[in-house]
């Protein structure tokens, strides 16, 4: 009897275990985890599109995206960018002196930001077929994903050359190697051709790319594909054609030059008609403010700035005088004790960029400037489309036509310069490249034009002997690309080949 009861107890306990064992199935209540379920909801697909933009926009931790001057790290070899000789600017200096290293932490900003956008864009493209909703709205999201994926690969392929390339969300590409540059261009072009079809002519939300943006970016991709390193010269005509489509339909897309160059840099003109694609920064969310504003291009000794980036002396000296030059550079610094110091007497003896100050700097007392603000940061603007057309048409046809002159001169006239006429094809092309350098100075584009046209050595040879950062490494095409980051090779050794 006694023993029986003991056993009964044990058996009962065993039964309880069997009973409860069924309870061990996980049913997460608050967590999303299955893409095939969550992307049935339109709002979730849209949320991943937002995360895609957030990827390139980047964060305030100097780790990802275009939020800080670190995104320009791989572009410091150009003559529109130089940096302080000491302090904590070692990462920028490496590229400025053509002495790059694979453990440069700052270059990871561009890498991480672009790849984060690609990761999310792949998800949107792959799972959008499940989404229930208005077809045009879904197409718009998918079009944006194609645009952003191409945009991101474009920065990566120009900075690093051979890169890891993947377009699928469901297979995890942990062991892929580096893809050739031409394969990356194929993906970008196919993405942009799709984006062109999927995107609406105008967007309700000002920060999103439209059909015009896809055409504009495609024209630049073709232009670059026609130059170094692929030299597919037939693409010049395609570049000209796409740029022309944008110019001819600027009314439909709502694009135009702002009448005054200096307005471009004021917060009230954020997302103006000149903006084709801008990243939207908002300080209210803490991590999402724009950190190129304010201190990054302000002199440390005079205005309590950071000396992150400023202009090389010869680039400044050759920059044609006029309202554009005045709006681009700051040559007099106001110290906190009220004295004005001309850049020639300043600690670094360089002018600084004036483009990124509004909303971060109190001009009556610049030393109190913040290092971040809310702004939209133009990564593609209409002036560039005009200059792409001018160059591509000339290269494709052998000489500039009337429309090419018109495009170039629109930019020059606004800058307060005279119109050009009667140039040879080579003279015209040089004039366009110079113009583009001046127009977009400090905006992270000059370097890519210099490598595309293989002008790096020529420009570097022109570097003033008064520049503090000298040239250590090769300025030839063997040294155009940044090294694949060490930290990535450590995780995927296939990237080391």
């Amino acid at each position: 009897m006694k023993i029986n009861l003991k056993y009964t107890g044990l058996i009962l306990a065993l039964c309880m275990l069997v009973n409860c064992a069924n309870d061990l199935e996980e049913q997460p209540r608050g967590k999303v985890n299955d893409p095939e379920t969550i992307y049935k909801q339109y709002a979730n697909l849209e949320a991943t599109v937002m995360a895609m933009y957030a990827g390139i926009r980047g964060d305030a931790n100097w780790s990802r995206g275009f939020a800080t001057s670190s995104y320009m790290t791989t572009m410091f070899g150009a003559d529109d960018l130089t940096t302080q000789i000491g302090g904590n600017k070692g990462n920028f200096r490496e590229f400025d002196s053509f002495n790059t290293s694979a453990n440069n932490g700052a270059m990871m900003n561009l890498w991480r930001g672009c790849y984060n956008a690609i990761l999310n864009a792949n998800e949107v493209i792959e799972y959008s077929y499940l989404t229930i909703g208005d077809e045009a709205e879904i197409d718009n999201l998918v079009g944006q994903a194609h645009f952003v994926r191409a945009f991101s690969y474009f920065y990566l392929v120009r900075s690093w050359g051979r890169i890891p390339l993947y377009t699928s969300a469901s297979t995890v590409a942990t062991e892929i190697g580096l893809s050739e540059v031409d394969e990356v261009y194929d993906v970008m072009i196919s993405d942009l051709l799709l984006a062109e079809n999927l995107l609406p002519t105008t967007q309700n939300l000002v920060g999103l790319p439209s059909e015009g943006a896809a055409k504009a970016l495609l024209s630049e991709v073709y232009l670059t594909q026609a130059g170094w390193p692929l030299h597919i010269e037939s693409s010049y005509a395609l570049a000209a054609q796409k740029a022309k489509e944008v110019i001819d339909n600027k009314g439909i897309y709502g694009y135009d030059l702002l009448s005054s160059f200096d307005n471009l840099w004021l917060r009230e003109y954020d997302n103006s008609s000149e903006s084709i694609f801008s990243l939207q920064y908002d300080n209210a969310d803490g991590a999402t403010a724009f950190h190129i504003s304010g201190k990054a291009s302000m002199p440390e000794a005079e205005e309590n700035g950071w000396d992150d980036f400023f202009v090389e002396l010869n680039f400044f000296n050759e920059f044609p005088e006029g309202p554009r030059k005045d709006a681009t550079f700051r040559t007099n610094f106001l110290t906190s004790d009220g004295t004005t110091v001309h850049y020639t007497n300043s600690a670094t003896k360089h002018p600084y960029y004036a483009k990124f100050r509004d909303g971060a700097v109190d001009e009556s007392n610049p030393s109190t400037a913040t290092f971040f603000n809310s702004a939209s940061y133009m990564l593609f603007r209409y002036a560039e489309v005009l200059l792409i057309y001018a160059e591509a048409q000339t290269r494709a046809d052998g000489s500039p036509n009337v429309a090419a002159y018109d495009a170039l001169n629109q930019v020059r006239v606004r800058a307060g310069l005279s119109s050009l006429a009667g140039l040879s094809a080579d003279e015209f092309i040089d004039a366009v490249i110079d113009e583009k350098g001046w127009e977009l100075a400090g905006e992270g584009q000059r370097w890519y034009d210099l490598i595309r046209t293989e002008k790096v050595a020529e420009v570097a040879a022109n570097r003033s002997s008064e520049e503090q950062v000298g040239i250590i490494g090769s300025t030839e095409s063997d040294n155009y690309y940044a090294p694949i980051p060490d930290s990535e090779i450590l995780l995927n050794p296939n990237l080391g080949n």
Binding site: G9, A13, M16, L17, C20, D23, L24, E26, P28, R29, G30, K31, N33, D34, I38, A47, T48, M50, A51, Y53, A54, R57, D59, I85, G86, G87, N88, G90, R93, S101, N103, W111, R112, I118, I163, P164, V172, A173, T174, L205, V206, Q280, D282, N283, A284, G286, T288, A289, N304, W306, A347, T368, T370, S376, I472, E488, I489, L490, L491, L495
Partner: protein, 1032 residues
Amino acid sequence: MKKQKKRVNSRYSVLLFFLLSTMFALNAQGSGKDISGKVVDESGMPLPGANIVVKDSNIGTITDFDGLFQLNVPEGTEMVQVSMVGFKTIDVLLDGKTQFNIVLPEDVSQLSEVVLIGYGGARKKEDLTGSVGVLSSKDFEDQPVTRVEQALSGRSAGVQVKTNSGAPGGNLSIRIRGANSITGNNQPLIVIDGVIGANFQLVNPNDIESIQVLKDASSTAIYGSRGANGVVIVSTKSGRNKKPVISFNTFQSISTLPKKIDYLNAAEFAELYNSYDRDLNFVPGVYVPPFSDEDIERYENEGGTDWQDELFREAISKSYQLSVGGGGEKVNYYISGEYLDQEGIVVNSSFQRYNLRSKVEVALTDKLDLTLNMGWSKLKGKNNEDVGHQLGAIGRLPQWVAIEPVWEDYGVLYNNTPQYGAVSGNPVGLQYAYISQNETSIFQPSFNLSYKILEGLSAKLFGSYEGTKTTVYNLENNHILDAGPEVISRASINNIDRERGQVNFIVDYTKEFGDHNIQATAIYESGNYIEKGNFNGANGLNDVSLGWNNLSLSESQTSSSYYYDEYYNSLALRVNYGYLDRYLFTATVRRDGVSKFHGDNRFSTFPSLAFAWNAGKEAFVQDLDVFSSLKFRASWGDSGSHAIGSYATLPYFIQNGESNYHPNGPGTGTYVGLGVGAPGNESLKWETTTQYDVGIEMGFFNNRLSLEADYYNKDTNDLLVNTLLPEYLGGETVLKNVGSINNKGFEFTVNANPIRNDFFTWDVSANISVNRNEVVDLGGDELVLSSALYGDSATPITAIQLGQPLGSFYGYNFQGVWKSTEAAEAATFGNVPGDARYEDINNDGEIDSEDLSVIGNAQPDFIFGFSNTMKFGNLDVSFVLTGQKGGETFNGIYQKSVGLYGQSRAFTSPEWYNRWRPGHEDTDVPAFSSTSQSYPNSSRWLEDASFLRIQNITLAYNLKKEFITDLGLSEFQVYINAENVHTWTNYSGYNPDISSAGRSTGGGSGTDVDQNIDTGAYPIPRTFTLGLKVKF
């Protein structure tokens, strides 16, 4: 639905229990004769709480406050047994007498001490087959410990207690026999009065009766999938005496920073910075140094800011504790309360704890006992938890030069982007502008019903609940750090609600027949854990003075919530068998099912076996007349670790502020982002640790000298590792079961009692532990990088490498500077003489990822503890020494003081005086040079972490009994104590054994991959205490 089913099950067990109880409720009343008397110790002092039991029966009583007892014994009783913890058990022949004066001799060896082995089981120390460390309250009662962990420090072999943070209420870690897991936190399982997974903060150390540390697999396997890191079993005090004993303890202490680091003062900085500027920027003719001679002279006179004096302070702490314990024949009770108020040595940091505990034991019938336990705790911390990381005040301090002021104006902090300091974060400002206040309340009731079914057979039903509510308030008052229209302040409230439930049904069977002794325990256990949280945040507070109390009055608000649950079911059996009290066997087996895993991977079985031979009881050993006791032990077993949270097998997405976007431009609505995280892994399973242990215990000179030595070897397989995806795939982590870790080591403990007489007793105890940790398999990989980043390094400074222990540092090997004679070789690296030189491991003329290697390790060669207690009459003197030999610490604050990288635009370290320059080339400190690389991940920042510390010294004076008995007191003690008195070490930071790892801000994981990383960890203060203990 499923929840309900579970509730029904527990109801069944209750039902079953009562069924059993009613069926077997027998009456055991009888008439006999009354005996009475007094129990005293060898010095004649009455012993309250001694047990007097009629041999081989359950008839007995305990002595009252005056040592008196009265007992009705059945006719024919010949003998009673008298016992008490800390004393030898004796048999008293009645011999027809009714009045007794019994003297209990003290048991020096404590071999008869009862050791808790889990789930209500207890064994005499001499009958143990496993390796268990035991601490009784006597060991630490003279010390003003505020944390249970402190009591363990240095006192138990194989146990490493690390004060990662010196913040009040801060982070402490315990490792038993090394770290098994890469992903798991490696903290031992804490069991307090039967409640599994309890929180030490719930217990005031003064309420503790005993602590046992279960170390080998035979001891821990009964806890199955949660036992792999060892188990710490704590039992709290119970009331014993008829007359209530009231005790009151209080102390006041003062804490200070034990050591200041040497930084440049203002004038020194200005001069050195001139040298730096000149070395980099000198142009003949026009050069003007940044600081003029007048500036320097002014700094000389004014002195500048001593940031350490500004950030650290003398901190005052106080504690009040009151307890009352007592009881009668049927009921015992113990109730205690505590209030602890601690200031931190960093300004604006503090901690308060309120504790209430009650234990009521009721003998409902002769066979049915009920224990009700209730613990309640309220913890309030301010800037004490998530501090000590590289972006916090202490981490920022070495970047701030002495010429920068703290305050810009009265009440306005100096701008957070000074000219020569860090990019942001005035250290004093951070401490005032960023307020993190956490409030936790823990409520933990439990009950235990135990029913004696038959002689030797009993059943127990145990149930517990633990509710922990935490609220973290955060305020980021950027307005006092920075001016301007774009500056916005933020606040948030984060609520976390955790609930843990546990039900046990335990059947115990004990039987002696002839020379055989058997004790068997069958356990059913079911438990759950549910965590719910919500977060409410506001950006752009309209009025920062409202803090977090009016979140809606702001530009924008965010909120989020989450839910998390896990369940487990277990069945376990433990059998202890003894033959002739000499040959002891233990076997356990446990089967666990846990919801965290998928499919069949949810279930696992954990067996163990142990054998001990009490050779000291063999006649031939006794004939030797050498050993007063001698025991050999051997054990083997498996235990496990979940190491991960729920839903870890599933893919995940990222939802946070950094994934959100404003597609319609700045200042417009926020669109929520849902970012791709990482794919899931359905094949995850438990980590399993298999451990072998052999031990020997020896006693000499009537056990006045005892030695215990253990050797163990444990293999942990199927390690759960968070593997990092490359950045091109998002840089997030994926969990995998890869590889194995081995820990093996020796533990050696000596206890001695050289002198014991009426006036002077002297106890010494020393222990030393050697643990060798090695990663023996990484699933085919040679190297897995840590997922955490420190010290502004883009590549992790820690890594898991095959053949190396956990806690390996990874980076470049710093080799000093390029010499003038090496100019040509230096040039191939883009360097000039005087630049930092790193080892080019693969000799390819470039310093790149191929030159990264394991450059050091945090694991010590051995750790040791030494405690010494002397009692001269009424005066007690005791001290504890702790230390370690070997191991390294990453000195991130030294790195930041050298500066000129990352966010450090200048430097504060006087080491620059010793830099390379022409004429001073015999140095390892690089020159001021724009081509010199200062890699954050290099061996330059590793320092030897060996130390010897006087952990504490206590001097206690007990007022003589004759003075205090008149006042109605039984004890009156005054003591002074010094904690962290002195540390001998070559480490140049504050403490070699603190770590910033595991802070949620500023990067860092809480795993043992990242150890000894000091990027501004909270220094351990030196504390002087004056205390008083009174017992009524």
